[in-house]
Symmetry: C2
Subunit: 202 residues, 2 copies
DNA sequence: AATAACTGCGTCATGCTTGTATCAGTTAGT
DNA sequence: ACTAACTGATACAAGCATGACGCAGTTATT
C-alpha cells in the first residue's frame, strides 16, 4: 500500500499552476489577508476552479503557503550559517537574505504560522550567541527575536526616500536598510554599538 | 435649521448601549479583526439588532471606534505634557498612560485609523524634542515614532513571566514594562542610554 | 498518435454576514 | 401616569465566499 494506488501522473504544468497560485496568494494576501480565492486566482491568471483543484480548501492553501515560507526561512538561516559564523556577521547575513528573498509578506497575513518552532529556534540561537559574545546585553533570546522581527517589519515598510535611510553611509538602498535594521536591533537590545564600524558588507 | 427638526430625545440608556457596544467591539476586534457584528453584540450582552440601531453600518461602527481611540490617544498625549515637559519624562509618562488606558487594542485591528494625523504629530513632536536634547541620535521623528509603536506592541504582548521583565529593577510589573519599552526605544534610536539612571517613576 | 491529465467556463448548493423591517414588551423622562 | 424611546426576538432579502460538478477543449507525456 504505497501511494500509487491511483496511477495518477502529476503533470508538469499542474505543478506550475500550483506555484503560480502560491506566488499570487503571497502577494495578494500580503495586501489583504481576507482576499477571496477569486482575487487570488485572478492574480495568478487562472480560474477559480483551478485553485480548488490544486488545493482542497482555503485552509489547505494557507497551510501550503505557511509551509513554503517556513522553508524559505529555514533555508535562509542555514545559508547564513547562524550556528557557526560569528554572530554579528550572521545577523547581518540573515538580514541580507531575508531582504533578498523579498520575504515581504508583510505580516499582514497572520502567516505567523510560517514562523514554525524550527525557525524560531534558529533565530533564538542567533540571539543567544549574540548575548554570549556580549554583542548585546539582553538575556532572553526570545525577546531579541521579537524585537528583531518587529523592527524588520518597520524597516521593510520604510519608504525609499526616508531620511533615515539616506543618512546611512551605505551605497545601495537595500544595504542601507540592512544597516539600519542591524544597528537599531543591536541598540534596542543594549548592544555596545559597533556603530559604523561593522567590518563586513559581504 | 439646527438639528432638532425631529424632536428626538436621546435616552440615557441608549448611550449606555452605545458605550457597551464600543467597549465590546474593541475587545472582540482586537482578537479577530473580521469578527461578525453578532459576536460583538453577544460580547456586549445585546441583540444584533441593537447594534444596527446604534450604528448605521459596520463601517460606521469602525469609524466611531477609531474616533474613540484617537481621542484617548490625544488625551494621553496632552496629559503627558508632551509639548512642554522634559522629553525623557514625557516619554516615560506617555508610556505609562498608554499602558494604564489598556490601549491594548493590539493593532490586530487595522485600527491604524486611530492614529490620526494629530496623534502622529503629537508623537513626532516628542521624538523631535528627544532628538534636540540629544537623548537620541535618530534624526527623523517619524522613524522614532514607528519604532516606538512597534516595540510598544511587543512589550504589551510579552507574557507576565518573561525573564526580560523580571530582570528589571522595577517593583510593579507594569512599571517593568514601561522601563523596558523606554530603554529599548532609546537604545534603538541611538540614545546615550541613561540606563537605570532614570530619575522619575512619578 | 493515443491516452490521461489539466484547464476554463458555467452552474448549482450552502452557509455566513450584513442590513431592513415589524411587533410586542420594557424603561426612561416629564 | 403618560408618552416616546429603547430593546429583544424574529423574519426576510440581498450579497458574497466557499466548494462541488460536469463538460468541452487543450496540452503534456509515452
Amino acid at each position: 500500500m504505497g501511494e500509487k494506488s491511483p496511477p495518477r501522473r502529476i503533470r508538469a504544468d499542474a505543478e506550475r499552476s500550483t506555484a503560480r497560485i502560491l506566488e499570487a496568494a503571497e502577494t495578494v494576501l500580503a495586501a489583504d489577508a481576507t482576499a477571496s480565492l477569486e482575487q487570488i486566482a485572478d492574480a495568478a491568471g487562472l480560474a477559480r476552479a483551478t485553485v480548488h483543484r490544486r488545493f482542497a480548501s482555503r485552509a489547505a492553501l494557507l497551510d501550503a503557503l505557511a509551509e513554503r515560507l517556513s522553508q524559505r526561512y529555514l533555508g535562509g538561516l542555514a545559508e547564513a550559517r547562524v550556528k557557526t559564523a560569528p554572530p554579528l556577521i550572521a545577523l547581518h547575513r540573515v538580514t541580507e537574505i531575508v531582504f533578498d528573498l523579498k520575504l515581504c509578506h508583510r505580516f499582514a497575513i497572520q502567516l505567523t504560522a510560517a514562523l514554525t518552532p524550527e525557525v524560531l529556534d534558529g533565530l533564538d540561537l542567533l540571539f543567544a550567541r549574540l548575548r554570549d559574545t556580549e554583542a548585546i546585553t539582553a538575556v532572553d533570546p526570545a525577546w531579541g527575536r521579537k524585537v528583531y522581527l518587529a523592527l524588520l517589519h518597520e524597516v521593510q515598510e520604510l519608504p525609499a526616500d526616508s531620511p533615515t535611510l539616506a543618512s546611512s553611509a551605505a551605497a545601495d538602498e537595500t544595504e542601507a536598510r540592512i544597516d539600519l535594521l542591524v544597528r537599531t536591533t543591536l541598540g534596542a537590545l543594549g548592544g555596545g554599538l559597533p556603530a559604523t564600524a561593522l567590518p563586513l558588507t559581504s
